[in-house]
Structure formats: structure tokens, C-alpha cells
């Protein structure tokens, strides 16, 4: 079934269509959330939130973009909301906790990351956490999701030159941050 027809059926609150949509996009949503959050439990909750949002807001979907783009956009927003909320909690815990050493650790619970890469991935996530939100979204969608610049323009609703600029700034910021760490220096 084509996406346009699927949307029509979803707007008529067809349960079979919703199941079909879930089967088609659940993996994409789950993996995008996982790439942002790196924790399975959080990614599952974001996936649930995304499909609930799709179910509630499908009547407002005007078809200006594809349903896939729309779902990607919701997923990015939900994942970012979760990251923001985690940051707020950390900030609050910093004031409450006497020893904040354990707050600096980033947990990696991603089944797609090898054991040997987990430590590096944790550090990479901390570096990505230091980027501006839109730079992080562009970087994640391009390098982790494999989207093209053209697809990113649609998801982020920005121009191609803006995507290029975001990617350039993300790259130069990451390089700057890398110069202050010894993340890959032990490798030859």
C-alpha cells in the first residue's frame, strides 16, 4: 500500500492501517531515537511517544511532506525533548548531589554498538552533546541515519545551504573538541 493511501486510511482511524504504519516505520523510529539517546529504554519510550503523536495528530497532517519525513521530524523533536529534560535533571542533581562525578558518565546501552566501541561511543556522545541542537540533528541524520542533504532539508524544514552550513559547523566544532581530548590518539 502506498503512503498516501495509508495516510487516508489512518485519517479514517483504521486500526489495520496504523499497524501497517508501525510495521513500516517502527524500526526507523526506534533506531533514530537510539542514535540520539544511546539507551534502549529511552529509545523505546520515544518510539511509543512518536506513534502516539502520529495517532493523535494524523488529522492535522496535510501531506505537504511525505509521512516518512513527518515521522522523522516528530522523532527528532521527541528525542531532543528527552535530551533537554535529562540535561535539566542533571543540572538540578548537580545542585542536590555533593559528589557529581557519577553524573559525568554517559551510559551506552545500544545493541548496535560493539563492546569494544562502547567507551569511545560514550565519549562521542558527550562531544555531540556539546553541539548546538540543530548541528547535532543534522550530524545524526547524515552520519548515523544515512539521510541525504536533500532529505535533511525536508526533515528540518530548512534550505540546502543551511544544512551545508550546519554540517560544516558541526564538523569544525567536533574537530575543536577532539583536539582537547585524547580520544583517538592511542590508535595508529
Amino acid at each position: 500500500m502506498e503512503d498516501a493511501l495509508l495516510v487516508l486510511q489512518l485519517q479514517q482511524h483504521d486500526e489495520t492501517a496504523f499497524k501497517l504504519l508501525f510495521d513500516r516505520y517502527a524500526k526507523m523510529v526506534y533506531n533514530t531515537a537510539l542514535n540520539f539517546l544511546q539507551v534502549q529504554e529511552d529509545a523505546e519510550e520515544v518510539t511509543q511517544d512518536v506513534f502516539l503523536e502520529v495517532h493523535h495528530k494524523i488529522d492535522q497532517f496535510e501531506g505537504k511532506s511525505s509521512i516518512k519525513t513527518w515521522i522523522y521530524r516528530i522523532t527528532c523533536n521527541k528525542a531532543l525533548e528527552r535530551i533537554r529534560s535529562a540535561k535539566r535533571k542533571k543540572r538540578f542533581a548537580f545542585f542536590v548531589s555533593v559528589d557529581d562525578a557519577n553524573l559525568q558518565n554517559t551510559i551506552i546501552d545500544h545493541p548496535g554498538v560493539d563492546e569494544e566501541h562502547k567507551e569511545k561511543m560514550a565519549l562521542i556522545q558527550r562531544l555531540l552533546g556539546g553541539l548546538a541542537e540543530n548541528q547535532r540533528v543534522a550530524f545524526t541524520l547524515f552520519h548515523m541515519e544515512g539521510l541525504t542533504y536533500q532529505e535533511i532539508t525536508k526533515v528540518m524544514n530548512i534550505s540546502l545551504s543551511s544544512v551545508e552550513s550546519l554540517m560544516f559547523r558541526a564538523k569544525s566544532n567536533l574537530k575543536k573538541k577532539l583536539s582537547t581530548t585524547n580520544l583517538f590518539e592511542d590508535e595508529k
Binding site: 524500526k27 526506534y30 523505546e44 502516539l52
Partner: protein, 96 residues
């Protein structure tokens, strides 16, 4: 140059991430949440307009009532009046 190499290694690590399968039973949990959630209340523009008209009617009635009703003596003024007229030295209050 050194930064470029480090950045390329970072990209290699990031891009080596494998896709994961969503946990089983996820659809059932979403379906359960959908059934539990109450439908969003939607108000149409006509309903907003009707509510605004009712509010305006009420406000105009309050305004009309305030401007046309003659002013009454306040409770303080009335109690002062009663106390002034009350005279303990006359026994007329007991003449019943």
C-alpha cells in the same frame, strides 16, 4: 591534519553502529496507551464564536445592571443609622 584523522576515526566509529530491532511487544504497548489516552477536545471556530457571544452578552448585562440600578446604602451606613436611633434610656423597646 591530526584533527582531520581523529575526526575521520570518529566518523568510522559512528558509522559502524548497526541497526537494532525494536523490542517485541512494542506495538501492543503503544496500542494499550492509545486506548488509555482520552481523546483531545477540539473546539471549532463556530464554538469559539458562540462562547465569545455568550461572554459579551453577560458582560453587557453586568454593565447595564451596574449603571441602571439605584445605589443602595452600604451595610456600614445602615448599621450606623440603627445604632444612632437606638436609645437605651427610653423604655419604649420593652413596651410590647
Amino acid at each position: 591534519m591530526k584533527n582531520e584523522k581523529s575526526y575521520n576515526r570518529l566518523l568510522q566509529t559512528v558509522e559502524a553502529t548497526q541497526q537494532a530491532e525494536p523490542p517485541s511487544g512494542l506495538y501492543q504497548r503503544i496500542h494499550q496507551k492509545i486506548n488509555q489516552s482520552t481523546p483531545e477536545i477540539r473546539i471549532s471556530p463556530w464554538q469559539y464564536a458562540a462562547a465569545a457571544v455568550l461572554l459579551l452578552m453577560n458582560l453587557s448585562w453586568v454593565f447595564y445592571a451596574q449603571t441602571t440600578t439605584p445605589s443602595e446604602q452600604s451595610e456600614t451606613e445602615l448599621s450606623t443609622l440603627i445604632v444612632d436611633e437606638y436609645n437605651l434610656e427610653t423604655p419604649e423597646y420593652y413596651n410590647y
